[in-house]
Structures are given as structure tokens and as C-alpha cells.
């Protein structure tokens, strides 16, 4: 028990911070309330610190937590300045201009930060999950606050629309993967992931995986597709990203996606990349499922992004596409397990998550930093036109981030993609690599449009934008853009860490304490 406690210290710290934030947020004093952001940042820093020492836990991916939680903390820290002022912006502005006085009841700043931290807590818990129940709870803890954050992120109807779509479809997705979990449990008789893995192993050695188990896995994975916004569960993504405030969209592009991928990796780890003719891939049904989903996701995301005029929608669909890319890494699996990055798809996915998270913050931060005259954040591509003339640093940030997302060497995103490339090739997934390459090219259509609009084109005359009132967001944008470049200097370290994190403890049949017979419902009842 204490072992597990040691594992979750970051979550505990975050939880404590959350509580503190909520309490501080009750203060009647505006200045005290403004501390919430700083406290959250402090909490995140401590959580990162606490994440690092955790060296080795049990389970299928015994070393995943330090990297994952560190990554979550870092990206969380970058998201924090972006989220600043999301809900209280109007109120603050009113107070500053003297039109209103501070009213404790009208401000929900603290709650907003708290939800954010809760969500991150859930995300970290996902990373340390070693049990289906835990996984389920962690995923829900990740998602539930985001539903609220989306809904209240702006005062317009769009956010509410986004909220309703997100919540209801999210609930549908949750129900689906829960049902999948149930079936997995049914097939293996345990909720412990390592034991599940052992049971699956035993089944496969005994002559084939249990149908219900495979079905459960499939259903669970499909349900999790909602979290990562993969086809066919991607429908909500664009609407929700567009409806939510940019900061929240940025968070949506990272937090649920990371949770989803962690969960998918764990589920795939439970069944193991030890099947197929050469014993190095997922079981055929799961493999085909993920293959189809990955290819469809890449194409759908990229294709849909082309026609958009809203930058947020473009980024939403690109986020869909990026999920597709990462699924390639999942399909490729952990490779030979020689501690190398290039043939390790899981490491590639973990690394990609980081690069994507870091880069993505920047794009949304640029949008969040620009305001239309009616107070809304920039959204349409016309709004960022001519940015180079008025705010060159934002334009530069946009350019760098977008190019990194495109995978333009030598930016961070490129190396993320190369990891996926190499691992997929090592796994023999040449067609997927081609699909991935083609899609990178299709993606250039819309990334170029964004880059061109921001960096090269003159401003539209009838479109007016001005700098947003919150300087932290500009900071977030610049921070993200510089990270795209500066992280290259430590890329080797990050890659090594991701390799360590992806260390897959392949199950053996003997691990399970209670060897269960294969559950076979298909056997005829005579």
C-alpha cells in the first residue's frame, strides 16, 4: 500500500494544491484570489518534483510515471498562463475600468483553476493506473472537470453548445469504454492490469484469446477513441474546440488526449504486442481495429481541416489527425525492447505527446492573445492575418508552432514524427508509414494557410483585432514557441526518458495468482 502511495505523491500534492486553491478562492479579497494562479503553478512545480524520484513501480509499464507525470506537469505549467483570466476576464476588466466592483459571488476564478488541477490530477492518476477500476476513475476524473470548464469558459452560447455536445457525447463514450472494461474483466476475472495481461497470455498460449476479452478490448479502445478524438469518435472535437475559449481548447487538445493514449497504451500492453505470425504485434482483431482507426483518423482529421476558415477548427481537426499519427506508434508497439528509441513505438508516442502538447499550447495561445473588438478571442483565419505587422512575436510564435506541428525539420515536431516513422518501419508497417507521410503532406495545406496568414499576408482591412488584455497568454505563446526550438537541445534526454518510460514489462502466464480457465461463451450449448 505504501508503495502505491509513493507512486501517487504528485497526485496527492496536486490534490492538496487544489484544495488550497479552492479555499483561497473563497477569499473576499480580489488580491488574495489572484494568488490562485500562483498557487496552482507552485503546486504543479512541486508535483513535477515529486514525480521525478519515482523510479520503478509495478505493473505493465513500471517506469512510465516519472516521464508521464513530468510531461503532464510541464505542459500543465505552460497551460496555466493561458488559462489565466478565462472566466474572470470581463469582470476584471469591468473592475479595472471602474464599472463594477468586486463581488465574491460573481467570480469563479478559483473553481476554474481547481477544475484544471483536478483534471491534471486525473491525468496523472491515469499514468499511474495499474487497475481497470483505477483507470476508469482516473479517466473520469480527467474528463468531468473539463466538461464544466468548456461550458463556462466564455459567456457566449457557443461555449454552452460546446459543453452540451462534449458532455453528452463524452458520457456516451465513457459508457462504451466502461462496457469494454466490464467485458475485459469478464474474460480475465481480474481488474488488475498485470493480471489481466497474464491471463491473456495464458489464453493465447492455451490456444487463442478469449472472444469476449478481445471484444471487450475492442469496445474499450473504441470508447477511448473519444478521449483522443479519433475516428469515429471525433465528431465533437471541432465544435467543442471552437466553442470553448482558446485556453481550454489547448487544454482539451492535450489533457484528454494524453489520458486516452495512456489508457490505450495500457490496454494494449495488457494484451501485449506478442501476437501475430512473428509474435511482435497486437492480436489480429485489435491490430486491424487500430490500423483502420489510425488511417481513417489521419485522413479524416487532415481532410476536414482543409476547408475550415476558423483557426480553432483547423487546430481541432489537426488534433484529430495527430491522434491518428500517434496510433501508428501504438500499433508499432514497444519494439525489440533494447532500450532504443527508434524502434520503440510507445516511446515515440510518449515523446510525441510531449512535443504535441508543448507546441499546441503555442498555437492556441496566439489565438488567445488576440482579441476582436467585441471582446471575443480571435478565431477566424482573417483575424490573424497581418499579425506579422502588428505583433511580430506572436506571428513568429505562430509560425514556429505551426511548422513544428507540420513536422518541418528541424523543429521539435519533426523529431516526434521521425520517432513514429522509424518505429513503424521497424515494425514493418510500411503502408501506415506511407499513409502517415501522405497525411503530413495534406496537413501542409492548412498549416501553410495559417502560417501564411499570420506571418506573410497583410491584414484584412475590415477585420480589426487588438492585443488581448492578458499578457500571460503572450508569454505562453512565446514560451511554447521557444520550447519548440529550445527543447531540441535536450531532445536526446527526453527521448531517453521516453524510452525508459515505455519500458514494457511483458507479462508471463504465471504471473496471475488465480489462473482462470478461458471463458468461452461461444461454445455450443447442446
Amino acid at each position: 500500500m505504501t508503495d502505491k502511495l509513493a507512486l501517487v505523491w504528485p497526485e496527492i500534492w496536486l490534490f492538496v494544491t487544489t484544495c488550497v486553491v479552492m479555499v483561497v478562492g473563497l477569499s473576499p479579497d480580489l488580491r488574495v484570489r489572484k494568488l490562485c494562479g500562483w498557487i496552482s503553478a507552485l503546486g504543479l512545480v512541486v508535483a513535477i518534483g515529486a514525480a521525478v524520484p519515482v523510479a520503478h513501480a509495478g505493473g505493465l509499464f513500471p517506469s512510465i510515471t516519472p516521464y508521464a507525470k513530468g510531461m503532464i506537469g510541464v505542459v500543465g505549467l505552460m497551460l496555466l498562463p493561458l488559462l489565466a483570466g478565462t472566466v474572470d476576464r470581463d469582470l476584471d476588466a469591468a473592475i479595472e475600468s471602474g464599472k463594477a466592483t468586486f463581488s465574491a459571488l460573481r467570480s469563479n476564478r478559483a473553481e476554474f483553476y481547481a477544475f484544471f488541477l483536478f483534471s491534471l490530477t486525473g491525468l496523472m492518476l491515469t499514468a499511474s493506473a495499474d487497475d481497470l477500476i483505477w483507470l476508469f476513475l482516473a479517466l473520469e476524473l480527467t474528463s468531468l472537470p473539463t466538461y464544466i470548464m468548456v461550458t463556462i469558459s466564455t459567456r457566449g452560447t457557443r461555449s454552452q453548445e460546446a459543453g452540451v455536445k462534449y458532455f453528452f457525447l463524452g458520457a456516451l463514450g465513457a459508457a462504451i469504454f466502461l462496457y469494454g472494461f466490464a467485458l475485459i474483466y469478464g474474460a480475465t476475472g481480474t481488474t488488475d492490469l498485470a493480471e489481466i495481461a497474464a491471463a491473456f497470455r495464458a489464453q493465447s498460449e492455451a490456444g487463442g484469446l478469449n472472444t469476449i476479452g478481445v471484444a471487450g478490448l475492442a469496445v474499450a479502445l473504441i470508447g477511448l477513441c473519444f478521449k483522443i478524438a479519433a475516428v469515429p469518435m471525433h465528431m465533437y472535437a471541432a465544435d467543442v474546440y471552437q466553442g470553448a475559449a482558446s485556453g481550454v481548447s489547448a487544454m482539451l487538445a492535450f489533457v484528454p488526449k494524453t489520458a486516452g493514449f495512456l489508457a490505450i497504451i495500457m490496454l494494449c500492453g495488457a494484451v501485449g504486442w506478442t501476437h501475430g505470425a512473428t509474435h511482435d504485434s497486437l492480436p489480429a482483431p485489435i491490430y486491424i481495429l487500430l490500423w483502420v482507426i489510425a488511417a481513417a483518423t489521419m485522413f479524416t482529421g487532415n481532410l476536414l481541416a482543409i476547408r475550415q476558415s476558423s483557426v480553432k477548427r483547423i487546430l481541432a481537426y489537426s488534433s484529430v489527425a495527430h491522434s491518428g499519427y500517434m496510433l501508428v506508434g501504438v500499433i508499432a508497439g514497444p519494439g525489440s525492447g533494447h532500450g532504443t528509441f527508434w524502434d520503440n513505438g510507445i516511446a515515440a508516442v510518449l515523446f510525441y505527446l510531449l512535443t504535441y502538447g508543448v507546441t499546441n499550447v503555442g498555437t492556441f495561445a496566439v489565438l488567445a492573445s488576440i482579441q476582436k473588438p467585441n471582446g471575443e478571442e480571435a478565431d477566424d483565419i482573417a483575424d490573424i492575418r497581418g499579425l506579422h505587422g502588428t505583433r511580430p512575436h506572436l506571428a513568429g510564435a505562430m509560425l514556429l508552432c505551426v511548422l513544428s506541428l507540420l513536422g518541418m525539420p528541424p523543429l521539435l515536431g519533426f523529431f516526434g514524427k521521425v520517432g513514429l516513422f522509424t518505429s513503424a518501419i521497424s515494425a514493418g508497417e510500411i503502408p501506415l508509414v506511407i499513409v502517415l507521410g501522405l497525411n503530413s503532406a495534406i496537413a501542409a495545406f492548412y498549416y501553410l494557410r495559417i502560417a501564411r496568414a499570420a506571418y506573410l499576408e497583410p491584414a484584412d482591412e475590415h477585420v480589426e483585432t487588438r492585443a488581448g488584455p492578458i499578457p500571460q497568454r503572450v508569454f505562453a505563446a512565446v514560451l511554447s514557441a521557444s520550447a519548440v526550438v529550445l527543447l531540441l537541445t535536450v531532445a536526446q534526454m527526453l527521448m531517453e526518458r521516453s524510452v525508459t518510460a515505455s519500458g514494457y514489462h511483458a507479462p508471463h502466464a504465471g504471473m496471475a495468482d488465480t489462473p482462470h480457465e478461458a471463458l468461452d461463451l461461444t461454445r455450443a450449448d447442446d
Partner: protein, 563 residues
């Protein structure tokens, strides 16, 4: 020194961004000139120390991402050195050519990217690591995109987008092929520990570990990228558009260096990595090249846009370059390398001339403008001179390259070298006299379209556009230019002209001698390796063995650590 050549332009690029716009062109000129000076030293030092035993000089390496097998490693052989020299030479020339064409308020953007572009181009030639190569290869797209998109003419957005997307798509697929090769080497080659992107290692092992089928696929993938870049028929359609729309300096660089990235990549990767497949499929590639030579040449003939004409002529000319490469013999490959340089000079100069004309008349339509011989005698003289160089007139630089490419194709025929009637002047190879003949007809076509262009542009009675569309947004308010070329413009052309003559009369002393040993080694290497590719079974076995060895090594390591 190489790294300096990559970093300096970047530094100057930053300087351009930070200094006031009025100073931009001076900084750019200073940067490119400084690089040219350093480059001259580099080239000089390279050839002073050249020896067949040390093909690569100025090597430097920095282990950056060992996890991806990525070292920042550079090094140059003679071919790369010459191409770097060409790149650096075109630097100041491009700045000079843009002196008045680029309005001051946008100068920072232009010159900044120009410098970045130069760094990237040098990087491509200097790279000794696959990812460094690829990085620079791709990164040339962006500056070019900006230059076309921002400083081009009417249709520039479409041109820029097409240029970027087309070449980007191709090169990603090429990357897949290259990475596949790296993977195969990393998992099968004996003596290679893990994944590596080191070009030397890959070259050494790739042909031993890739099966025939794999080689064919990798060849296909690489061609997807490089053939688009070259461009080889039928992947050429982006080029006329991009050239037509690009600003003068953009066209010069595009024709002068960027297209050579494709052929250089073929020389550096396609030939040595997959020799078996190259030998097998060379006729197909050569046929494409020949179609390109004649087809694009004929298209040139009926162009009305002079810049488009020169652009299509690039397609035609680069056909020779590819043909020479795939002749797989010294004559052809030498000719091809020479072609890379000489085409850069002469076509670059033609683009400069067209640009100077455009700056004065704001039209490129040969129905509107022509007969400039009387009005612009200096311009016309240069025009005729460079057209002759482009036509392949002996004594000028175009001829040795064109001749050697044709000769390479002609003598590259296995039937020549075997059997009773052995022909000593022929070499082993996949093409044959008919290829040489077909390419030779391209020379006729080249004469037709280039002289037709001269006939329209230079000779005849003077035709000028009725109304100067001087109200072109980029040029409004620009300084008024005299009728004929200014001293600055002449200074951009003169060095190229001098080189054309020098390379035409002394090709052996300047170029062929320089690259001879490297090219011969490359050809011998391809010859030696093209014979047999491992079978599927052998490849599989090699992979198994490699894995076992690595496992054993790891176990030993663990065993070594544990006690």
C-alpha cells in the same frame, strides 16, 4: 569551417532582422560576400589537400540525438565542395540582383530568408547524416515559399503553395524510403550497432542488406522525392509555375541550386544505396529523362512567357543531368555533376537577364516585348552569350557537361563490353547508344527553342508594351532604371560569364579533375554492388542473427554489470 558556413548566414539573417530595413541589403551583401570568401578558402583548401584516400574533408560531428541515430555531422567530398561553391557564388549575385527589385520596407523579410536559404542549401551539400541532410533539404522549402509567396508576381500564392506541397509530399515519401534503409542497415548489417543515420555507414551496408524487392521500393520512394525536386518528367509541372512567379533572386536560386538538390541527392543516395534496383530500373528513369528533354524542349518552343520558357528549359536540361547519372559510368556521372554546376550558372544567368528585363518592362510576354537588341545592347550580348552556353556550345561551360552526359548514356551498354566484338571505349551499364541518340536530338530541340527565344527577345524590330504596367505594387516608387543594364547588374552577370568561359575552356583543370577520383570511386562502388542483392531469406536470416548478437551483447553487458 563548414559549420561556419551554415551558421554565418543564419547570424547575418538575424542581423538583417534586427537592423533597420534600409541596412538589410547591405547586411545581406556583407553576409553572402563573407560566406563567399570563406567558401573560396574552403574550396581552395579542399583541393589543396585533396587525395583519393580521404574523400571527405572538413568533417565534423556532434552526437546530438543518438536515440534517433542522429549526429550533426558534416563533411564534403569534391562534388559537394563544388556545389557549395556554386551556392555561395550565387549568394551575392542574388543580393545584387534584388538590389532595386525589392522594396525597402520588405527588405528584411526578403534578405533574412535569403540568408536562411543559403544556410540550408549549404547544409544539404555538407550533410553527412541523413537527418541533417533531410532537415536542410526540407528547410529550403520555407524560404523559397516565402520568397515566391511574397515577392512573386500575380499568380504567386498558387505557385508558392504548389511548389511547397508538391515537393514536400515527395520528400516525405523519400524520407520514408531513407529511414527504411536506415532501419534495414540498423537491424541486419553486421558490425552496425543499432539504428544509424550516418550516410557513410548506410552507404557501406545498404546494398548488402536490402533485398532486390526492397531496393526497388526504396528506389521508388526516393525517386518520389528527388524526381519531383529535379524535376523529372512527369513531375515537373510545379517548376514552370514557381519560376514564373518567383522573384529574380528566387528563380536564380531555384534553378541554380534547389533543383540540384534533387540530382545531388540522387548522386549521394539513390546510386549507392540501392545499386541493384538502380541498375535494373535505370532504363526506365533514363527514358523519363529523355522524354523530359524532348518534351519540355518542344514545350519551350511554343511558350510566350520568356521566363516560363527558361523554366521549361531547366526541365529539359535536367533531363540530361539525370540521364548522365543513370548511365552509371564515369563519363555520365561526371557529366551529370558538371551539369549541376553549369546549368546553375547559365540558367541562373538567364533568369537574371529575364529579371532585369522584367524590372524595366514589367512583362514577360514575348508577344509584347522583343527586339531589344537595339535598345539594350549589353543585355542582348549577355543574353546571346548565356543562351549559347545553355545550348551547349563547345568552348562554353554547357558543352562538356552535355557531351559527357550524352556520351555516358551512349557508351553505357553491357552489350558493348562483352562478346566477340569487344568495344574498348564502352562501359558496363544499363543504357545504350539509342539513349545517347535520343538525348542528342534534345540538343537540336534546345537549339530550336533557345534560338527562337533569342530571335524574339533580342532580334527583330523593337517591341515594347504599349503601357508599362509600372503600377505593380512591389515596384511602385522604386528607383528608375536606365535603359540598359547598370554597372551593378553587369557585376552580377560578369562573374558567371567568366566562369562559363573558364569552365568551358578548362573543364579538366577546374572541374573534371577535381571530381574525377570521387566519381570514379562512386561508379566503381555502384558497379561492384549492383550485381546481387540478398534474397529475402538471407535478409531475414541476417536480421535474426543481428538480433541474436545484440541480445547476446546486452546479456553480456548485464552480466558484466551485475557482479
Amino acid at each position: 569551417m563548414l559549420v561556419l558556413l551554415i551558421l554565418l548566414p543564419l547570424l547575418f539573417g538575424v542581423a538583417v532582422l534586427l537592423r533597420p530595413p534600409a541596412a538589410a541589403k547591405w547586411w545581406a551583401l556583407g553576409g553572402t560576400s563573407l560566406c563567399l570568401a570563406i567558401g573560396a578558402m574552403l574550396v581552395g583548401r579542399f583541393f589543396a589537400n585533396a587525395s583519393p584516400d580521404v574523400p571527405f574533408q572538413a568533417q565534423g560531428s556532434f552526437a546530438w540525438l543518438p536515440a534517433l541515430g542522429l549526429n550533426l555531422s558534416v563533411g564534403i567530398d569534391s562534388v559537394a565542395t563544388l556545389l557549395i561553391g556554386l551556392t555561395l557564388l550565387l549568394g551575392p549575385i542574388c543580393v545584387g540582383a534584388s538590389w532595386t527589385a525589392i522594396p525597402q520596407h520588405r527588405a528584411r523579410l526578403f534578405y533574412g530568408w535569403l540568408l536562411v536559404l543559403q544556410a540550408a542549401m549549404v547544409g544539404v551539400f555538407a550533410a553527412r547524416d541523413l537527418l541533417v541532410f533531410y532537415t536542410c533539404f526540407e528547410f529550403t522549402l520555407l524560404p523559397m515559399f516565402v520568397m515566391i509567396n511574397e515577392f512573386g508576381s500575380t499568380n504567386r500564392h498558387k505557385a508558392a503553395t504548389k511548389f511547397f506541397l508538391y515537393t514536400f509530399t515527395g520528400s516525405i515519401i523519400a524520407l520514408a524510403g531513407l529511414v527504411y534503409t536506415a532501419w534495414a542497415v540498423g537491424t541486419r548489417a553486421t558490425g552496425v550497432d543499432g539504428f544509424t543515420l550516418d550516410i557513410a555507414t548506410l552507404t557501406e551496408h545498404a546494398s548488402h542488406v536490402l533485398t532486390a524487392r526492397e531496393q526497388a521500393l526504396v528506389l521508388l520512394a526516393m525517386l518520389c522525392g528527388f524526381a519531383v525536386k529535379v524535376p523529372l518528367f512527369p513531375f515537373h509541372t510545379w517548376l514552370p509555375l514557381a519560376h514564373t512567379e518567383a522573384p529574380t533572386a528566387g528563380s536564380v536560386i531555384l534553378a541554380g541550386v534547389l533543383l540540384k538538390l534533387g540530382t545531388y541527392a540522387m548522386y549521394r543516395f539513390v546510386l549507392p544505396l540501392v545499386p541493384h534496383a538502380v541498375l535494373e530500373h535505370a532504363p526506365a528513369v533514363a527514358i523519363l529523362a529523355i522524354i523530359g528533354i524532348i518534351y519540355a524542349g518542344l514545350i519551350c518552343w511554343v511558350q510566350t512567357d520568356v521566363k516560363k520558357l527558361v523554366a521549361y528549359s531547366s526541365v529539359s536540361h535536367l533531363g540530361f543531368c539525370v540521364l548522365g547519372l543513370f548511365a552509371l559510368n564515369s563519363a555520365g556521372v561526371t557529366g551529370s555533376v558538371l551539369y549541376m554546376l553549369n546549368h546553375g550558372l547559365s540558367t541562373g544567368a538567364l533568369f537574371l537577364l529575364v529579371g532585369f528585363m522584367y524590372e524595366r518592362y514589367h512583362t514577360r510576354d514575348m508577344r509584347e516585348i522583343g527586339g531589344l537588341g537595339a535598345k539594350m545592347p549589353i543585355w542582348s550580348t549577355f543574353m546571346v552569350f548565356f543562351v549559347m552556353s545553355s545550348v551547349g556550345l563547345p568552348g562554353l561551360n554547357g558543352f562538356p557537361s552535355e557531351f559527357l552526359c550524352t556520351m555516358g548514356a551512349f557508351i553505357s551498354h553491357t552489350g558493348w563490353t562483352s562478346g566477340a566484338a569487344r568495344h574498348v571505349g564502352a562501359t558496363w551499364g544499363p543504357l545504350g547508344p539509342w539513349f545517347g541518340f535520343a538525348a542528342g536530338t534534345g540538343v537540336i530541340v534546345a537549339a530550336i527553342y533557345l534560338l527562337a527565344m533569342v530571335a524574339k527577345m533580342v532580334w527583330g524590330t523593337l517591341r515594347e508594351p504599349a503601357v508599362h504596367h509600372g503600377e505593380h505594387d512591389h515596384h511602385a516608387g522604386g528607383p528608375h532604371l536606365p535603359v540598359d543594364l547598370t554597372a551593378r547588374e553587369i557585376m552580377t552577370l560578369l562573374p558567371i560569364g567568366v566562369l562559363c568561359i573558364v569552365f568551358g575552356l578548362f573543364p579538366t583543370q577546374t572541374l573534371i579533375g577535381a571530381i574525377e577520383s570521387d566519381v570514379n570511386a562512386q561508379v566503381a562502388f555502384v558497379h561492384e554492388r549492383s550485381g546481387e542483392a540478398p534474397t529475402e531469406h538471407e535478409a531475414h536470416f541476417a536480421q535474426q542473427e543481428h538480433r541474436q548478437q545484440r541480445d547476446a551483447g546486452r546479456d553480456e553487458q548485464i552480466a558484466g554489470v551485475k557482479p
